[in-house]
Every structure is written in C-alpha cells, then in structure tokens.
Symmetry: C2
Amino acid sequence: VSGVRKAACIGGGVIGAGWAARLAWHGIDVTVCDPHPEAERRCRIVLANGEWAMARLYGAPVGEPGAVAFTTDIAEAVADADFVQESAPEDIPLKQAILAEIDRHAPAVALVCSSTSGLRPTVLQSVMDRPGRFMVGHPFNPVYLLPLVEVCGGEKTDAAAIDRAITFYRSLGMQPLHVRTEIDGFIADRLMEALWREALWLVNDGVATVAEIDDAVRYGPGLRWAMMGTFLTYRIAGGEDGMRHFMRQFGPALQWPWTKLTDVPDLTDDLIDRIATQSDEQADGVELRDLERQRDDGLVAIMQALKPLGIGAGAVLADQERARVGARAPVTPDLSVAAPLCLHTARVLPEWTDYNGHMTEHRYLQVFGDAADALFAAVGVDAAYLAGGHSYYTVESHLRHLGEAPADVPLHVETQLLDHDAKRIHAFHRLVRSDTDTLLATAEQLYLHVDTKEGRVCDAPEAVRDRLAAIAAAHGDLPLPDGAGRSVGLRRQVAAE
Amino acid sequence: VSGVRKAACIGGGVIGAGWAARLAWHGIDVTVCDPHPEAERRCRIVLANGEWAMARLYGAPVGEPGAVAFTTDIAEAVADADFVQESAPEDIPLKQAILAEIDRHAPAVALVCSSTSGLRPTVLQSVMDRPGRFMVGHPFNPVYLLPLVEVCGGEKTDAAAIDRAITFYRSLGMQPLHVRTEIDGFIADRLMEALWREALWLVNDGVATVAEIDDAVRYGPGLRWAMMGTFLTYRIAGGEDGMRHFMRQFGPALQWPWTKLTDVPDLTDDLIDRIATQSDEQADGVELRDLERQRDDGLVAIMQALKPLGIGAGAVLADQERARVGARAPVTPDLSVAAPLCLHTARVLPEWTDYNGHMTEHRYLQVFGDAADALFAAVGVDAAYLAGGHSYYTVESHLRHLGEAPADVPLHVETQLLDHDAKRIHAFHRLVRSDTDTLLATAEQLYLHVDTKEGRVCDAPEAVRDRLAAIAAAHGDLPLPDGAGRSVGLRRQVAAE
C-alpha cells in the first residue's frame, strides 16, 4: 500500500528498536544503525518482546516478517531505504549532524522522520539539502504496541510528504495525529510534561512517593484517559448541563492553588465558547446517555482485561472477587421441583460479540460453564468447597447452536439433570433468550468429581450426592430433552461408535 | 465487615448518585438528600447505569442490594446513618453549612466524609463540633466503577477514623489512597489539573482542538496511565540504565519550553536520589524484563478489550484487522497430504487462564473456532468470500477435555476432514500442546454453508467443494480419530438416539 519495502532506523535504543519491531512485523526489511557496542544485543531483546506482543495483539503476521540487519554506518543503512526513522538522543547538534548524513546518502524519494519528543522540525531540517521530505514522527513507548504517532512538519516540509508519512504510518497499524501548528513538545508531550512537572513537585515537597503518585493515576483518572482523554471525560462529568456548565463550574478552580503550575489562561467567554463548540463537534451528535454507556462499557472492559493479569484496577477487582466469593451465602434453590432448574442468568456483553454483532461461538460455552458452576454451587460445591481442594471438571460437551444473540439481550439457562453417580454428573442445559423465549443453544455435559491437588477422580461426598439425588428424583419423569444423546455427524452416516 | 448498614449521600448529583449506586450494590441502604427538583430523576438514571455496569464488572450481587430513598432534609437523611458522604458543589461556605448540619444530626459514631476534589479538610471541619470523625474521601467519576478514593484527614481528624474509612471504602471494592500530607487538590487532582491547564493553553493558543488533544492522550500515554502511572512507565523507558539514567537524560527538558507551565522544581541530586530510591521500592525487586512483559501484557489486554467496543485504540486495531484480512494472500497449504492438516497455531494468553492458572474451558472452543476459520480459508472461504455474503456456521460441536494448559505454552491444532457434502463439513480437531506433544482436547464439529444475508443454508460453490474433495481424498485412508462419533453420557447408559 505504502510502497515502502525497506526502512532504516537510525538509533537503536528503546525507541529505535521499537520502530524496527513494528516495521519488521509489517513485512518491511529494516537496517538498524547504532554506534553503541551493546546496540544489537539490546535491540534484539526489544525485537523479541515486540514479536511476542504483536503476535498477541494482531494474531498471525500477514506475511513473512521483514529481516532486521545491523550496522554502525549511516550511509550504508540508508543507501537503499524508502523510509528513514531517526531516533537519536534529544540533542540538537547531534540530531542535525545525523540528519545531514542521512540526507546525503538516502535516495531522494525516501521520507526522513525524527522520533524527537519535542524539538521543532524547522530547527532539525535546517541542515538538510532536501528538507521537504523531513518531518517529526513522534511515537510512544512501546512503539510496537501504542498506536499514536504525532506527525509535525517544519517550515520547509512538503505537504505531500506529510500525506505520504501519514498513509505509511497508518499501514503500520498506527494512529497518526497531525500536529498542524509547529510547537515545542507537540501535543502529547506538553500534556505529559505538565503532569510530570507536577509529579516532581509532589515528590520534591514530600507530599507523596512515586508509588502513591502512580496509584493516584492508575486506579482513577488513568483508566478514563486510556479511552476518552480529558475533554470528553469532562463533557460527560458535566452531565445534562453539558460542557459549558462544566467549564463555568470548574473555572474558578483555575485560580485555586490546585497545582504548582499556576500560569493559566484566562477563561474568557471566547475560550469557553471555543471549547464548548469543539466539544460538540467531538461528540458528533452522540447523546450523553450513549457517551456514559460507552465510557462505562470501556471501563468495565479495561478492568476485566486487567483482572487475570493482576495489574492495577484489575488486581483490586480480583481481590474483591475473592473476598466476596468467600462471603457468599450458600445458594439454596428449591431442588424438588419437577422442572429444569433455572440457576443462571446473564446478559450478552458487547465484548462477547463478533464483527457481525452476534455473540461469538465460544461465549456460549462460557455461559454454559457459568450455569454448570451454579449447578455445582446448588449441590454444595461452592467457593469454600473448591478452596478445600475438590471440584467438578467438565470432561465432555456436546453443543448445538440454534440461534444468534446480539449484544445486551438477556439470557437464562435451564438445567436438567440426566444422570449421576458417585463420581459423575450428566446434565443438559438449554440457553434461552429471555425476552423472546427463543432457544439459542443446548449443551449436554459430563462432569467428573476430582481431587484438584492430587489431580485424580474421586467420589463426591455424601452431602453432595444427596442433593444430586434430590434433583434426580425431581427430574426423573421429565422427558429426555430434544438433542440429548446425539453425536456429531452428517445424518446419512451411521454413528461411528 | 465494616459495620455500615445505612448511609446518607448529601448531594445527589453525578458524584453523590454514583456513591449511592456503589453503596446500594454492596448491600447498604442509602438515603440521598438533594434540594434540586430534578434530583431524584437524575439520580435514578445514574443508579440504573451503575447497576448495569456493576453487574458486568462484578457479576451477580453478593446479596440483596440496599434500598435507595430520597429526601430534601439533611437531618432526616443522616438521623440513623452509620456513614455520611457529602458531595455538594465546591463552595467552601456552602459545604461548611452542610457539614455543620450533618454534624448536628448524624449519630456520634457515624463517619462523615467529603467528596471535595481539592478543598482542605481542616477548613471544612472547622465548623464541626465533632471534627474528629471528618475527612475527605475523594472519588472519581463514575464513582460506581473507578476504584480510587483519596482519603485525607485535617488537623482535627482522628487517626482511628481514617482507618475505619479506609476499611469501609475497601469493602466497597475501592482502592483507598491515604493522602498523608494535607494539600489543596490532594494528589490525583493536582496531576489532572496540571494536564488540564496545559490542555486549555493548547486550545487557547489554537494549537489543537479538544478532539485532537483527547486523541493525543487516548491513543498513546493514556493507555500506559491506565495501568502503570507515570513513574513506573518512565522507569521502564529508562531501559537497562534505570531510573537514575532516565532522570538525568530527560532532566534538561525541564528547562525547555515543552509546556506553558514553567514553574519547575530544581532537579537536584537529592531529588534524583529520592525518586530513584522510591522507584526501586515501587519496583520491589521485579526485573526490568518482567516489568516490560507486564506492561506489554496489559497494553495488549486493554486494546483487545476495547476492540469489540470500537473505542480508541481498540477501534484502530479493528480497522487494521479489517484492512489486513482484506489484504491477506490466500492461504494455499498442500491439501493432498495423507495426514491431518496443521493450519492453526496459538499460544495460551495470560488472560485466557482462570484463578488456577489454567486455560479456561471456553477458550478451548475459541482455539477450535480459529482452527475452523483456518480450514475455511484453506478451501477458499476467506475474508473476501465472507464479505460476499456467504460463510460456514458451526452448528454442532463435541468437545473432550483431556489435559490442562498453563499460560504461555504453544498450541497447535491438527484437523482431519471426516465427511462433507454440498452444504456441510464434518471435521475433527485435535488440540496439541506443541512443546510436550500432549493432546489437550478434541473437537468434532459440523459446519453448515449459509447465505449470511438471507440467513439460510445453501450449497457451497464448486471451487470450495473441489478443495474439500481434495482434502477428503487425501484423508480418506486415515483412521477415524479416537473419540469421533461419540455422544455425551455415562458409559453404562445406552445412547439415547
């Protein structure tokens, strides 16, 4: 798409190596140039990290990954490059010398971009013979994962070169942000630098430690910044009264000593108008309720995603879940009713759906698994029981998919006990869309009672078996559910067993 | 645990209502007091949002949710409360008047906390007769989801009251951060305010729009802030040279005009030492490589979580996936080999594992689904084909679970074609742990060829059937795999069909 087949990364530190990883993953051959004696070793660690992380993010690579070569000679690195990314230290004379060298040896059509976090492109390009092809392309660490790249041209940059760079970066899975006004620090680093300076004051003044400051971010505002930034968050916080109200309400705080950084703009009517108008454009007609819903969906999804990793807010969630499960009163449904048990309800979460907007195949099994857990809890196999080292494991499932479910629809599962003995439970679940009473899927499952420490099958205790017997007695006269006992195959076939 | 059975929320705006939602979810009866004529209607919207969001975050409530009542009378609201949370507008005389009223009527043992974003507790408690039980408990919107609450006592606050409040907030699933030094704006709001002031400058100076500023956060640094904050992120960015190196390298930037907020602390050796030491304590012996891995795991998990929601970096990922799938060269494996096809490999992601550290049941089906997609692609049912309105749907699956898989282990799937006709494919997959060659699970599945627009079964085209026939010819002499053709049941049973 972009026409770039070969790239050069000048500077192979954390940023340069991150670029090399992203480029190679996208099928582009890369030559990394760095004079540091440890450069190749360090770079290869980043390449390996990037390969593993991108495999998880993207799945399998599109095609063959690009090759990565190393050199200490800039001329050699850029000789046949279509694209050059400079990631040298933030030192103007050093960067200028490197860029002049790149400019002399790179093909005339090659784009040249700098990873600088904040130096002005006009200053950097001043030493180049072909400054029109130069601009800033400022990435964020880890470069192989974070999509943002700030693109900022200098006074001599060609507009066409900026378009080419934006197209190219987009082909690498990035989100280019065109910084239209040349300014030190561009946009993101100005914000980061402001927060950083305030954080330094807090440590300097002994108010908080670095760990406390990080916690103040990651358990609170950081979760919102991950998906909405700051203005949209405040628009929602303004509630029904909107952005203009929010600005006027919190305007006075600008004059209060809530940071050490007290050089603030005047909150004139003109500035309030501008922000309110731009905020309307940003919201693009999406109603407050939908924005709130989007915010909440995103926060839930982020915290749930961090839970199994035990990171930040995900760790809080996991801790509380453990505490709550321990405290949960035993479920005591009436097991003697001659009808399938309804022990589990759910709602189709937005993140369970695929690109067609329907619940993905494996999420059906997740809901059936939750229904099985509810059945186990009902016969006494609850959190305390599990903690004691025994459990039921699913060993066999037969699923039939009969209907589709879009996001948000309510579900319930009807569970019929088909058979059991000391070690085994044989159950049949029907997944029903509750609002339309439509059967969506069935699952016939076999569970084994196991000693989880020893990893072997063993008898369930008397109390559990008594409860199973009570359900079996109640379900004894129910007809065998439609679909039970089936094997998979084309019907004309004789079953193989 | 906390002994709180009844709470009063004084002020029922976005923050007060968010508190009510969190409290009620955790089984605590709440009385909301607000003089605004629309207060109850607005509050009930937040309560409904909170109920839905917490159901998704936590699953089913522990027990009966608390009741929520409304009043306009502070004395009535707090009369029998064990805990009072004040969330009135940021106006010192107004808050003082309200707190004095609360103080007069609340039981002597009740804790009284203020949601203020930055006013000093010493100032607020000065009007109270029992100031010892008062402190700031500053939450973050939406209060029912974000775990952070900053706890800050004033000069007259009892240490024991702070301990009680921290215990109570923790029982609500929150992450209390004790602000040990009383300071305007506490910790989080100082950081947020610094970022906000810089953002206002950027709009004021016409450098960027509010949407561009939000994008500069949510596609880049915001994703890191969601899980690591700022210091730990920079520690990792410092690479092998560590925090001290990072501080010295970026120290000069403090003197550069990278923000409008130029009142910066001197980066003395003492301050650098303090930060480096605190950063070591924060990392707590965790090695750089493990921190990098944690960061990358978290970023992948967050972006993956946002993908189906189409929010921020998740939308970038979804867009690129669509573009990449469209561009993918058709897979042309050799279909004529007389052995099961190996078309799909994967690795167990950390977020696929349960609390035992093993791959969760439904993730097996996810991997089999990916293997089925690879089989479809191999016979010509690729992204372009799907876009044309035809596909194969799974209608039936038989799964056997034979082994467990911890995070990170490599997997591959071996696929044998058992049967097919114009409309149907009958296949058998074996999921193998690649590093030990252990069979973990099998899946026997039936797929139907469908017209996805009409929603009905139809014949697959000649080209697809020819490829299936080629595989069938190659697989014709393979033995029927162990486990094929089985139905679920206790073996002593006669199969029901």
